[in-house]
C-alpha cells in the first residue's frame, strides 16, 4: 500500500511532485501543532504548570494560519494542476483534514482555558477522568496522522475501534462527574465545566476518526462515512 505514497511523486512534472509533497508536509505539520496543543494540556494535568495552558492558545493561532496556508495550496493545486484520480483524492482529503484539524485546535483552546479555571483552584476532582480521556484521544490523533502519512489502512481501521473505547471512557467519566455533583452541590458549577472539557476532548477524537475515514477514501477511493446512506460509493 505504501506504493501509493511513492506514487504521488512520480509525475513527469517535478514541480507538481513538489507541490504535492509540500501539501502533504504542511498538513502533517498542522497535525503536529494540534498534537503539541494536546500534549501541553496533558502535561498541565500532571504538573499543574499553568504556563503550559497559555501555550494552547498560542498554538491555536498557528493552527489558524496553517489552515489559511493549506487552503491556498489546495486552491492553487486545483487551478494549476486539475488533479485527478489519486492526486484528486489526496487534494480532497487534505482539504477536509484541514477543516478537522482546525476544529480540533478550537476545541483544545477551549480545553486549555476551561482547565485553567477548573484545575488551578487546588481541587483535583475530575483530573483523573480528564487525563484518561486526553491520553486516549492523543493516541487516536497521532495514529490518524500516522495512518495518513503512511497511507496505512489497517491503522486507519484501528482508529474506529479506538473511538469506541474513547466513548466508553467518556461515558464513565460523565458518570463519575455526576457523582461528584450529587455528593456536593457546591461543585456543580465547576464540574459542569469539567464536563465541557471532556466533551471537547471527545470531539477531538471524533475529528481524528474523520481523518481515518479520509485515509480510507484516499487509498481506496471509497467513502466509508455514514455507511447506512452510502451503500454505493459512486452513486
Amino acid at each position: 500500500m505504501n506504493d501509493l505514497n511513492d506514487d504521488f511523486f512520480r509525475h513527469i512534472s517535478s514541480e507538481f511532485n513538489e507541490e504535492l509533497e509540500a501539501l502533504r508536509r504542511s498538513i502533517l505539520e498542522m497535525g503536529g501543532l494540534v498534537e503539541e496543543q494536546l500534549r501541553a494540556a496533558l502535561q498541565f494535568y500532571s504538573t499543574q504548570d499553568s504556563s503550559l495552558l497559555s501555550k494552547t492558545d498560542e498554538i491555536e493561532k498557528k493552527i489558524n494560519a496553517a489552515e489559511i496556508d493549506l487552503d491556498e495550496q489546495v486552491e492553487t493545486l486545483i487551478v494549476r494542476r486539475q488533479p485527478i484520480a489519486s492526486d484528486l483524492r489526496l487534494v480532497l482529503a487534505v482539504s477536509k483534514i484541514v477543516r478537522d484539524l482546525e476544529r480540533m485546535g478550537d476545541e483544545l483552546e477551549k480545553v486549555g482555558s476551561l482547565s485553567l479555571e477548573c484545575f488551578m483552584s487546588g481541587s483535583d476532582v475530575g483530573v483523573t477522568e480528564i487525563q484518561q480521556i486526553a491520553e486516549q484521544v492523543a493516541k487516536m490523533l497521532s495514529e490518524s496522522l500516522n495512518a495518513f502519512a503512511r497511507l496505512d489502512l489497517d491503522l486507519a481501521r484501528e482508529i474506529f475501534q479506538r473511538e469506541r473505547e474513547v466513548d466508553k471512557v467518556y461515558q464513565s467519566a460523565l458518570r463519575a462527574l455526576a457523582t461528584f455533583m450529587i455528593e456536593d452541590p457546591r461543585n456543580i458549577g465547576r464540574i459542569l465545566n469539567i464536563v465541557w472539557i471532556a466533551r471537547s476532548l471527545e470531539r477531538v477524537g471524533d475529528h481524528a476518526t474523520n481523518i481515518a475515514e479520509y485515509v480510507i477514501y484516499l487509498v481506496q477511493g471509497v467513502d466509508v462515512r455514514h455507511p447506512a446512506v452510502n451503500q454505493n460509493s459512486f452513486d
Binding site: 506514487d7 488533479p83 484520480a85 474506529f160 480510507i216 481506496q220 477511493g221 471509497v222 466509508v224 455507511p227
Partner: protein
C-alpha cells in the same frame, strides 16, 4: 459520530492493479443497450499487431471517450468501427464488430452505407472544396436521402442548425466551406456527418486544432447530439474526456486496459497504467 467499517466494505473495492498490461480488460465492457459491440478484435498492419483482442460495447445515445498514449491503438480501433481501415492495403482486421446486431465486416455489407450510419469527424477540419451548402448536401445526394430540392434544403438547414452553425452561415451558403474559421469548419464537418442521419458519429481528436472557445462550442454540440446519436471520441485532453463522456476507455499498447463510468475512471481508476496516464506520470 460512530463509524462502522466492515472488512467487506473495504475489501470489496478495487485495489489499483500493477503496471503490467492486463490480459483481460478491467471494468464493464458490456452495456445494457449497445449500439455497437466489438468482440475479440485484432488488427494487424502487416506483421505488426496494432490491436490485441479488444472487446467493447458502445452504448446507445452515449458518449464514450477513447484515451491513451500515442500509438496505443485508440484511433486504429475507432477506424475499425466504420471500416476506415479497409483503405489501408496491409491492414487486416479480425474479430467481430456489430452495429444493431449486424456484423459490419460481413461481405454483404455495403461499406458506403455503413459509413453513412457510422459517420466520422477528423482531427483536422476537412471541408470539401465546395460551397457550404454543397458540403452538407453531398452526402444526402449520393445516398438519395432527398426526393426534391425543397427536401434537400430542409436537410441542409436542419443539419446546420443541429450543428449550431446555421445562424453564422445562413446568408452565405454559396460561399466555400474552406473560407470559414477552424472552429466553424469543424462544426461544418459535424453538420456534414449529421446530414446523412447517422446512428454513430466517430470523432478523432475533433478539437485538437481548435481554440478554447471553438472547443467549448464543439463540446456543447456533442452534449446536445448525445440525445440522438451515439458518439465515440478519441481525445488527448483528459479534461475533455472527463467533461463530455459517459464512459471512458483507456488503451495501452494495443490493448483495452480498462473501461468504465467516466467519473469512476477519473476518481478511482482500476488499473495503475490508467492512473499513471491520466495523472501525467508517464509520457
Amino acid at each position: 459520530m460512530e463509524t462502522i467499517v466492515s472488512d467487506s466494505m473495504v475489501q470489496n473495492t478495487n485495489q489499483v492493479e500493477g503496471r503490467a498490461v492486463p490480459e483481460k480488460t478491467l471494468g464493464e465492457i458490456q452495456v445494457d443497450n449497445p449500439r455497437m459491440s466489438a468482440r475479440n478484435v485484432n488488427v494487424f498492419y502487416g506483421e505488426k499487431q496494432a490491436i490485441d483482442n479488444i472487446s467493447l460495447d458502445i452504448g446507445m445515445s452515449q458518449v464514450i471517450s477513447f484515451i491513451g498514449p500515442s500509438g496505443c491503438g485508440k484511433s486504429t480501433f475507432l477506424r475499425c468501427l466504420n471500416r476506415m481501415n479497409d483503405t489501408i492495403d496491409i491492414c487486416k482486421v479480425d474479430g467481430e464488430i456489430k452495429i444493431d446486431h449486424q456484423n459490419i465486416y460481413d461481405p454483404a455489407i455495403d461499406v458506403v452505407s455503413l459509413r453513412a450510419r457510422v459517420g466520422m469527424v477528423f482531427q483536422k477540419p476537412n471541408p470539401f472544396p465546395k460551397s457550404i451548402f454543397d458540403n452538407i448536401a453531398y452526402g444526402p445526394r449520393i445516398h438519395g436521402l432527398a426526393a426534391s430540392k425543397v427536401e434537400l434544403d430542409q436537410i441542409v438547414e436542419s443539419s446546420l442548425q443541429r450543428a449550431g452553425l446555421w445562424e453564422e452561415v445562413k446568408d452565405r451558403l454559396d460561399q466555400p466551406g474552406t473560407g470559414l474559421s477552424g472552429g466553424q469548419q469543424q462544426r461544418l464537418c459535424i453538420a456534414r456527418a449529421i446530414a446523412v442521419s447517422p446512428e454513430v458519429i466517430l470523432m478523432d481528436e475533433p478539437c485538437s486544432a481548435l481554440d478554447p472557445i471553438a472547443t467549448a462550442k464543439v463540446e456543447e454540440l456533442i452534449h446536445e447530439l448525445r440525445e440522438q446519436y451515439t458518439i465515440v471520441i478519441v481525445t488527448h485532453s483528459m479534461q475533455q474526456a472527463a467533461r463530455i463522456s459517459d464512459r471512458t476507455a483507456y488503451f495501452h499498447l494495443g490493448k483495452l486496459v480498462e473501461v468504465g463510468d467516466t467519473k469512476q475512471v477519473f476518481t478511482n481508476p482500476r488499473h495503475e497504467l490508467t492512473q499513471d496516464y491520466i495523472t501525467g506520470r508517464f509520457g
